[in-house]
């Protein structure tokens, strides 16, 4: 069942055309991550769904209800859309205690006092905040504040919850724990969630669907596996992982395979764009796909090693390749000198 539908949404802020026709669907129990570089319009999209920005064109439906439609001038104000929204800064009201922050949504909905108390207590307990109810926001740690913000947006049981970089104010270690915990919580409550992030690892860890925005349009949308493993454009390929990029010229095309040649090297790869022999092309290969080889194979290169960097869990080796570099991971330190490396053809994407 589709909980949230956005159709051909256009948003203009001042003179800037921020969103230029964005459509997406979020099903019940599904988590969608909005990913993109800064200025791509991901936060604007989230705020527009919430009713905090006004679109110039398009439609938004939440459950059965149309909350915005430019065609018949429907525009339900933010407070009547019944959404949960977690702000990047958490936006806890500093003049209210944790209890008052969380209870506010119920007070506005005229829920009886006793029931309010029960429901607030329950959500606080579920989020591990049971004994912090009487504190003020400034007396809480970053992680606690984040959970209060979440409790506040969940207590009135919205169908859809919107999260604007919910983890960006936590420190690195806490963030990795929180994204698993947050995903589990949303699944347990059978909510639909839209989460803005600029961190591709966070997006993949949390979401069922990743939507990558660029300059106000959706560049690609799909499961994390599709986004990482089968990017449709150079932009997506570069955004989604740690990559080597090499440029050269296509010399041979055979179905979806092709050969790319540069200064003193030639490699087979998979075509991911309509290229023909003689075109200039960019080859992209993930760092983890570069393998050290013992014996030369079809797609091997013998390259000088210029540096080995210790990263703790692995070594990163840097090779010189006709003016540029190629980076890959290895298990141990290597001495400078010529090394044979293997570049699997199915992982070398040509754009």
């Amino acid at each position: 069942m589709t909980e949230l539908t956005v159709q051909d949404l256009h948003v203009t802020l001042g003179k800037n055309h921020i969103l230029k026709g964005v459509s997406l669907e979020v099903k019940r129990g599904e988590i969608v991550a909005l990913l993109g570089p800064s200025g791509s319009g991901k936060t604007t999209l989230l705020r527009t769904i919430a009713g905090l920005e006004q679109p110039s064109h398009g439609a938004i439906r939440i459950g059965e209800q149309t909350v915005f439609a430019s065609a018949n001038k429907t525009d339900i104000p933010a407070e009547k859309r019944c959404l949960g929204f977690v702000f990047q800064s958490y936006a806890l009201w500093p003049h209210r205690t944790v209890y008052e922050n969380v209870a506010y949504g119920l007070k506005l909905r005229k829920v009886p006092e006793a029931e309010t108390r029960e429901r607030v207590q329950e959500v606080l307990r579920n989020l591990g905040l049971g004994d912090l109810a009487e504190r003020h926001p400034h007396q809480l740690s970053g992680g606690q504040q984040q959970r209060v913000a979440l409790a506040r947006s969940l207590v009135y049981k919205p169908q859809v919850i919107l999260l604007d970089e919910p983890l960006s104010n936590l420190d690195a270690k806490l963030r990795e724990e929180a994204r698993i915990w947050l995903r589990q919580l949303i699944i347990d409550l059978n909510l639909s969630a839209v989460c803005v992030t600029h961190d591709q690892a966070e997006a993949m860890a949390m979401a069922d669907q990743v939507v990558l925005l660029k300059d106000g349009v959706i560049e690609q949308a799909g499961t994390p596996q599709e986004m990482y493993g089968a990017p449709k454009s150079l932009f997506v390929a570069e955004f989604m992982g740690a990559n080597n990029t090499i440029s050269g010229m296509i010399t041979e095309v055979d179905g979806e395979n092709a050969v790319i040649e540069g200064n003193g090297w030639s490699l087979r790869g998979r075509l991911r764009a309509g290229l023909k022999a003689g075109d200039r092309a960019t080859g992209v290969i993930r760092l983890e796909q570069i393998k050290l080889a013992q014996t030369p194979k079809e797609n091997s290169l013998r390259l000088p090693l210029s540096a080995s960097v210790y990263l703790g869990n692995t070594w990163e080796h840097v090779f010189d390749l006709s003016g540029g570099t190629l980076r890959g991971y290895g298990n141990e330190f290597m001495h400078p000198g010529e090394q044979l490396i293997d570049i699997p053809a199915e992982h070398l994407w040509l754009f």
Binding site: A50, E79, W93, L108, S153, L162
Partner: protein, 558 residues
Amino acid sequence: MMNKTPLSKIVVIILTAIAVFLPIGLLCWQSLLDAPFFQADKKMGLDAYRFIFEDPDFKRAFINSVYISLGMAFISVPLGGLLSFLMVRTDLPGRSWIEPLLLIPVFVSPMILCFGYTVAVGPVGFVSIWAQSILGNVPWNLYSMGSIVLIAGLSHVPHVYIYSSSALRSLSSDVEEAARVAGAGPLKVAATVSLPMVMPALLYSGVLVFFLGFQVFGLALVLGDPEGHLVLATYLYKLTNKLGTPSYHLMAAVAMCIVTITVPMVLSQRFLLRNAHKYITLKGKGARQRTLPLGGWRWVAAGLVAAWLAVTVVIPIVGVGFRAFVTNWGEGVTFIEAFTLDNFKSVFEQSNLMRGVINTVLVGVIGGGLSVICYTFIGLASHRKNNGWTRLLDYTVMTPRAVPGLLAGLAFLWVFLFFPPLVPFRKTLVSLWLAYSVVWLAYGMRLVSTSLLQVGPELEECARVTGATPGQVNRHVTIPLIKYGLLASWLMIFMIFEREYSTGVYLLGPGTEVIGSLMVSLWAAGAIEIISALSVINILLVSVGMGIALRFGVKLHD
């Protein structure tokens, strides 16, 4: 947020615009008539302008006003800039207690200060008598045009100080340190980095002082009287005496001349303000400041500041305080034998004076509170919105700065005389309160909107998403968060309302007396003792406000 402006906010904006533009419109219309606007036989025409332009007194008053404005700008901008540099950037001794003293001329009415000057350094002032006993004659003439310009300039130094010190404060010292490291000496740093960066603020305050110069009234009334030096505002005030009948059309024409000069300057300030902060992009964390050690110059600088304080604050305040406790003063009179409390007794015995004291407190405390409530409504009407309505409000709020209190009071008098729904309030404090609120609209709105801007927008948006209507957001989130800012604004408005004297001049009548306007009318009658006593009471009221502000850490300026 949504772009639609709800009806309630439109109503607030329209009411504000009416309160500001109706009186000014009335002035403008009256100036184009050849008789008071309520007379039946009036005709449209430029007679009023023709009359004043042919009057040599008007010409003299105009030239004097230009002198005062220019002199004020040339005296107060360099001194104010220097003072703020010494206070903010150097290790000048006693900075913390000098700060509130510096601002006294802003919060004490110029009537009182000038009054203090006549008592202290006037021809028979106690300082003058002392000087004469040593030098054989008094080497200054308080009532000359030069003295008037000098005093006007010195007493507006704080206005410049307020703006340039806030610019200097928000300037992080690391930009200076970067210049030092790059190889510039201290003087080079000041000339090429610090000074150019606060230049826009100095220019802004220069324009401010210049148009305040055209609004000077109390100062010229007290010091200009003895030798007949008129300025535009005192010329207007004396027109009635001169012609024997209230000649509204002539007064309106003079008023329009003043407004024509000041309005473009107020508008240009808007443009300058945008520039005034153009170099102050990064605030907060980076703005740590180091003070520049003055070394041997420390005491020279301290002496300079002390001299300015003595001339601008100590002499007039001591003068007026002294005069309030003596029966008479002149050559050969000693303080002990002339000492008396009768001046205060007569204030408490005369019902109109006593009412004036009570009304001053009422207007400051209750009126000030009501004004802050109104300013808050106006502030909320344009909060986080930018459309045609808020731009209208912007200009509406700025406009009263261009209108001297005396003129605003005159215009409100006419409104309360002839605008039927308001006629019953003519003889009540409501008329005075409304005029005060409009005259200080720009100041009050700045106080309130500074608080409003400190509320993070996401705190309000979050309440919306949680289910609160815009009205509930205001009541439950925005107003509770700016509560302390509003209380501080109330205090500041209280002090400003205590100080105000010119707005009430034309509204003065039984029931609407306040200390400020009583002093203006008593000055004409020459009741020196009573004025001194009222001045002391007025200074005490302002001091109470200042004391509370200092006690609770309310910032006296930003």
